[in-house]
Structure formats: structure tokens, C-alpha cells
């Protein structure tokens, strides 16, 4: 028997209004409608200044699934999370949550700054639904986890932001929910603390709990999630495999970073276009690590430009420029004669790992100051395979280094086992 979904989101939409005057008035009319039981008919008529923050989103989560919700700021992720948490209600559709829901939305929400860490543990614990006995029993564990020790009896307004968040997480980590909602909390704290957070999430996951993570950090998402939902403008535009999801999101970032172009006025020559091919000459934008990438750049000119230089920057939307190379480096020189020329370059054994990348092209004349034209995001491509591993058993992040290993010598007395 297939396991029943723990979370069911069925065609959920939510209206939103950024204009305060309208928003308050709509609040009042919504209240009147609620009191007269009038708003039960899935009325999705947009009023003035309103838009859909979440637009017809559906998905199901099964026990043990950990899903990453990614998208731009304002894509509707947090609104969706608030609806899953029952803080606000959908304007259309239906959400069913089977099990106890825990949320790590803002750590330490409700901390009273003048009270001590000890007092706040009890308050925060009570807000999250613990009884005094439960907190008593877990108190030492919480203090250990937060690494506060002596500071526990100092007012929390004297805490550093790291201590504050650690304390908030330490209390929240005592939750053992069936469904855990996490919003951007992995981004805080030092490395050791972040590892603890991951451990907590992975433990819950292996315990068969269902987790929804909202984060902008693709490495974090990659580490904990086994499924991705990408949202854009309130709509779900992708739902599936993590690597593909992240590539879709990066692709989205690239498309939004508009074709940024700079060109000197009355430039003699300029870049027309660039096209990407594989080693068989097929036009492609998806590659795998280790393949060759071939690019053809078409340039036009009104008069001859001798000894032109073309500079290629390989970029990622999240990290910026990874590396650049210029045509003279390999001793290649070319002249652009009217009406134009097509040059080809080849990146051999593509060293990049899964992700979305883009190329920035800059065209120069022979001298350093002979700038003609530059196009950011002139072209983009994706590396779609092989898959990466973020647990320390494979390769991950952006660059796949060509590497090898061997044993140099064995430090034990008898050397039988470790001869190279």
C-alpha cells in the first residue's frame, strides 16, 4: 500500500496587496465576510492593487520526504509556508496537514530582551507547546546545544546574534514534529552550529518525518533535500529532482539578470551572437562534466579591426566570475573585416559540476584601452550530470578538479599492508 500523503496542497492561491491603505480596507471587508460566512465560495476576484502571491500551487508530500522550496524573493515561498503553518488561510484551494506541525521560521521569536536566557527558554518552550516538566527534563540538553553555559543567566539583550539564534534553535530542536517547516534559518550561525542544524534535520528525516525547507543557499538545499519545488511569480514552475530543480532556479536567475550590454558609441566592431555546440557539432545548452564545449562567436564591423581580442568570462549567477580567458593567451589573433567574422573557441574537458553557468564576452582592439563591446549573459549553459554528493563522498560545488590519490608511506612498524 502506498503511503498516504502527509501534506496535501490542492490548487492553493493567495491574494496579496502591497498598498497599505487598500490592504487595511480589504482586511476589514474580509473580516465582515468571515463574520457573515460569505467568503466560502472560492472567490478569487482580484481587487484593486491586489495580485496573486501564490497562484494555483499543488503538491503532495509523503512521509520521509524533504522538499526544498526555492525561488526569488517575493516568489510566494514564505506565504505558502505561512499557509502550511496555518497562520493565514488560502483564498482558494485546500491544504491538508496530517500530523503535528513544527516550524522553524524565526528563531527566538518572542524572546523578551530583558529576561535571562533561562527564563526565555521556558517562555519560548511554552510558545512551542512544551510543558514546564518537559523543559525541565530537557533544560541541560538545551543549554549544551546552544553552547551558552555561563551566559544562561544573563539577559538575552546582552547576547550576540549568534548566541540568540543558537538559543532559539536549541529550544526549537526539542520539537519532534511530524512535519517540519524551515524558513531560511540555516543561513545563520557559525559552521559548527550549522552542522548541528543539519544533523537535526537529517535525524528527523531518517525518522520518517516530512520536511519543507525554504532557502536561498543551493548548497544547503542540495545537502538536505531530495526534491525541489521552484516557484516564480507565485506559480510552481518545477517539481522534481534536486539537481534539475537547482539548475532551473539558476536558469531563472540568469534570465532575470537581463542581457547586460555595454558598447562604446560608434564602435567600429561589435558582437552579434554566440552559439554553443558539442564536439559532434550539435547545438546544445546542456552538457555533462568532462565534455567539450564549442562556441561560435559572430562579430560584425563597419571597418577593419586588426588584432582584435575576445575575452571570455565563465560565470555563475550565485558566485560571479569563475574564470576568464582571452584569445591572445593561446597565441590566437584575428582581424575583423567588414561585414564580419565568426570565430570558434573550445573549452576542453569541461571542469564544471552540476549547475547553471553563463558566458560574458568582451571585444577589444589591439591596445589595452581599445574597448569595443561587452555582453554579460551572452549565452548560458547547464551542466546536468553527473550528480554531485554533498555528504563528503563525492564531488560537489562548482569545479570538478582533476585529481588522484596514493599512499606515500605507512607509519606503522610492519609495512605489509600499506605498500603502494
Amino acid at each position: 500500500m502506498a503511503e498516504a500523503p502527509v501534506v496535501e496542497v490542492e490548487q492553493v492561491s493567495k491574494k496579496f496587496c502591497r498598498r497599505l491603505r487598500y490592504s487595511l480596507w480589504y482586511g476589514l471587508t474580509d473580516l465582515a465576510a468571515e463574520l457573515t460566512a460569505r467568503n466560502g465560495k472560492d472567490d478569487l476576484q482580484l481587487r484593486q492593487a491586489e495580485f496573486l502571491a501564490v497562484d494555483d500551487v499543488s503538491f503532495e508530500l509523503r512521509p520521509g520526504e524533504c522538499i526544498g522550496l526555492i525561488g526569488h524573493n517575493g516568489a510566494g515561498k514564505s506565504t505558502l509556508l505561512k499557509m502550511l503553518n496555518g497562520l493565514i488561510r488560502p483564498d482558494r484551494g485546500r491544504i491538508t496537514m496530517r500530523g503535528r506541525v513544527g516550524a522553524l521560521i524565526e528563531l527566538g521569536a518572542g524572546f523578551s530582551p530583558v529576561l535571562t536566557g533561562r527564563e526565555n527558554i521556558y517562555i519560548n518552550g511554552a510558545v512551542l507547546g512544551f510543558s514546564k516538566q518537559e523543559i525541565d527534563a530537557k533544560f541541560d540538553e538545551i543549554v549544551d546545544f546552544a553552547e551558552l553555559y555561563d551566559a544562561i543567566d544573563a539577559p538575552v539583550q546582552t547576547y550576540s546574534s549568534g548566541m540568540y539564534v543558537r538559543l532559539g534553535f536549541a529550544v526549537a530542536a526539542q520539537l519532534n514534529p511530524d512535519i517540519l517547516l524551515i524558513d531560511e534559518i540555516l543561513a545563520v550561525g557559525d559552521v559548527a552550529f550549522r552542522m548541528k542544524c543539519f544533523q537535526y534535520i537529517l535525524d528527523l528525516k531518517s525518522g520518517g518525518k516530512t520536511i519543507v525547507v525554504v532557502s536561498h543557499n543551493m548548497i544547503d538545499i542540495n545537502r538536505v533535500c531530495d526534491r525541489i519545488v521552484v516557484m516564480d511569480g507565485g506559480k510552481k514552475i518545477f517539481d522534481g529532482n534536486v539537481s534539475k530543480g537547482i539548475a532551473t532556479y539558476e536558469d531563472l536567475l540568469l534570465k532575470r539578470g537581463d542581457l547586460n550590454e555595454q558598447r562604446v558609441p560608434d564602435a567600429a566592431a561589435w558582437i552579434e551572437r554566440i552559439e554553443l555546440f558539442d564536439s559532434q557539432g550539435r547545438r546544445r545548452n546542456d552538457f555533462t562534466t568532462g565534455e567539450d564545449l564549442i562556441a561560435e562567436v559572430t562579430m560584425s564591423t563597419v571597418k577593419q579591426v586588426s588584432n582584435s581580442r575576445l575575452i571570455v568570462h565563465v560565470m555563475t549567477p550565485t558566485l560571479g566570475i569563475l574564470g576568464s580567458f582571452a584569445s591572445p593567451h593561446n597565441g590566437f589573433s584575428f582581424d575583423i573585416e567588414p561585414p564580419g567574422v565568426v570565430v570558434r573557441f573550445r573549452i576542453r574537458n569541461m571542469p564544471l559540476l552540476i549547475g547553471s553557468y553563463s558566458l560574458r564576452l568582451s571585444l577589444y582592439g589591439p591596445e589595452i584601452s581599445d574597448f569595443l563591446h561587452t555582453i554579460t549573459n551572452a549565452s548560458s549553459f547547464k551542466i546536468i550530470a553527473p550528480s554531485v554528493d554533498t555528504f563528503g563522498y563525492g564531488v560537489c560545488h562548482s569545479i570538478g578538479f582533476d585529481h588522484s590519490w596514493e599512499i606515500v608511506r605507512c607509519l606503522a612498524d610492519h609495512q605489509t599492508k600499506c605498500a603502494p
Partner: protein, 287 residues
């Protein structure tokens, strides 16, 4: 993995008004009220201790305002700027009791709105039983009233005022005033959260209201002063409560019980409104 079948809480969120499923709504209200108690206690302790933690004089601040206000009125009355007619106990005790009772009511009106505003950040981030905020608010008002009652007892001893047996009803009267205040506070909270005009006007309205209530003067028995008793629901409750304490023969007992009955209904209506309104308010709060 837990294999033992246990009851899994199922939450369903739809756009339909919660009123369309009254059974679920009322069960939810009762359940949340029950599980609110522990949290309410924590919030109460937090609010009281954090209020005075940063002060030098601590709980003196709870005593000081009624003493000062009473002192001003006693001074004005002694100096002959206004006359209030005959009171059965020394005017100082009379006005102190009146002010303490009024303050219980006024604090209670403010409490729900204050608690919701103060809890803005957890309301928009954590799903906890919202009834706990109201219970904590009631607790705070009770605590403040209790501290002031100590003051009243000291005043009674100082002036050597003897009490009739009906004084045992006095706490009931205080509770009735707090109940009225909370009910009114709950009813105005939804609109007050959206439009801060309500919060701006509230202290001013309560200030005027105090003078239209027999707080610093005895209840007028003759027309047109008696309108204050007829039209102002706080008057019979406050006056009856004070009479129970001092004279033993209150004039408006029927009015008192009529208002108490209405208060119970208003409290239920206010609770329901609060419950229905909060998701909508949270949506606009985070906007």
C-alpha cells in the same frame, strides 16, 4: 518508525469561513483554551517580570498612579474646588476605591489589544493557541488590581473604616468589571489592529468615560445625573461594588446583574470575533 496507531492531528485549511463549520470551530476554541493555560501563565510571568526588571523602584510603579490620582482629587475636594456631597466613608478612601475599580476596568479594555500588538512577531511566525494571549492579559489585570487592593486595605486600616458583611461580594464586583473590560477590549481589537485610530482614541475615550462614571463622586440619584447610571453600563457595576464594600446597601443591584449577564454574552461574542479575526489580521500584519 512508530508502528503503534495513534491519533494523528489533521489540520485542514480552506478559504471557507470558520462559521460554516460551527462544530469544529467551537471544539477548536475549547481545546485551545484548555491547552492555553500553561502558556498563558508563562506569558503572564514574562510580562510582569520584564515590566519591572528594568526599573529602580519596581512594584512601587504599580502603587504610585492610584495614590497620586486619589491625592489630587482629595486635595481639590478639601480645598473646595468641587463638592461631591456626603460619602459614607472618608472621601480619600471613597475616591481611592473608585479609582482602583475604574482602573481594573480600563486596564482590561486595553489588555487584549496590547497583548496582540506586543506579540506581533510570534503571531506572524508561530502557530500557538491564541487564547493564551487573552488569558495572560486577564492575569496581568488581576495582578495589577490585586496589588492596588493591598493599597486599599492599607487605606482602610489607616482611616479606621469598618466593613459591612457584604464586602465579601467585592471581589465578585472586581471580576465583573474586568470581565466587562476584556469583553469590550476583545470586540474592538480586530478593528484596532487594522486601524490604529482606535488605539489613539482609546486612552482619551476612557479618560472622558471615567468622568461620566461615578468614580470620584457618588452615583447621582436625581435626574439628569441619573442618566449616567441608566446609559453607562459601568456605573451600576462600579457603584454596586463600592457600595458592597462600604455601605452594605447598594442601589443598583438589578442593574449590576443585568450588566453581568450581558458581559457573559459579550465575552463569548468577543472571543468568537477574536478567533475568527486573527488569521485575517495576521495576514494584514505581515503585509
Amino acid at each position: 518508525m512508530t508502528t503503534a496507531p495513534k491519533t494523528i492531528p489533521i489540520s485542514i485549511y480552506t478559504p471557507a469561513s470558520q462559521l460554516t463549520e460551527p462544530g469544529r470551530l467551537f471544539r477548536g476554541m475549547l481545546r485551545d483554551m484548555m491547552i492555553s493555560r500553561e502558556l498563558a501563565w508563562r506569558l503572564l510571568v514574562r510580562n510582569i517580570s520584564s515590566r519591572y526588571r528594568h526599573t529602580l523602584f519596581g512594584y512601587v510603579w504599580a502603587f504610585l498612579p492610584p495614590i497620586m490620582t486619589a491625592g489630587v482629587f482629595v486635595f481639590l475636594q478639601k480645598a473646595g474646588y468641587f463638592t461631591v456631597g456626603q460619602t459614607q466613608v472618608p472621601y480619600a478612601v471613597f475616591v481611592l476605591a473608585g479609582l482602583i475599580l475604574w482602573q481594573a476596568f480600563a486596564d482590561a479594555v486595553h489588555a487584549p489589544l496590547r497583548l496582540v500588538q506586543q506579540s506581533h512577531s510570534i503571531l506572524t511566525k508561530v502557530n500557538f493557541p491564541r487564547e493564551s494571549l487573552i488569558l495572560a492579559g486577564v492575569g496581568e489585570v488581576l495582578f495589577a488590581s490585586l496589588i492596588r487592593l493591598v493599597l486599599l486595605v492599607l487605606a482602610l486600616l489607616w482611616f479606621g473604616v469598618g466593613l459591612p458583611w457584604t464586602a465579601i461580594w467585592f471581589p465578585f464586583g472586581v471580576l465583573a468589571l474586568i470581565g466587562m473590560g476584556i469583553a469590550l477590549g476583545l470586540l474592538i481589537t480586530p478593528v484596532a489592529i487594522l486601524y490604529h485610530d482606535v488605539g489613539q482614541a482609546l486612552p482619551f475615550v476612557l479618560y472622558l468615560w471615567m468622568f461620566l462614571t461615578p468614580v470620584i463622586y457618588p452615583a447621582p440619584a436625581t435626574w439628569p445625573g441619573s442618566l449616567l447610571i441608566l446609559l453607562n453600563p459601568v456605573s451600576p457595576v462600579l457603584d454596586t461594588t463600592r457600595d458592597w464594600l462600604f455601605s452594605g446597601s447598594p442601589h443598583y443591584v438589578s442593574g449590576f446583574f443585568a450588566v453581568c449577564g450581558l458581559t457573559v454574552l459579550a465575552l463569548l461574542a468577543g472571543w468568537l470575533l477574536y478567533r475568527l479575526a486573527l488569521p485575517i489580521l495576521i495576514e494584514r500584519m505581515s503585509a
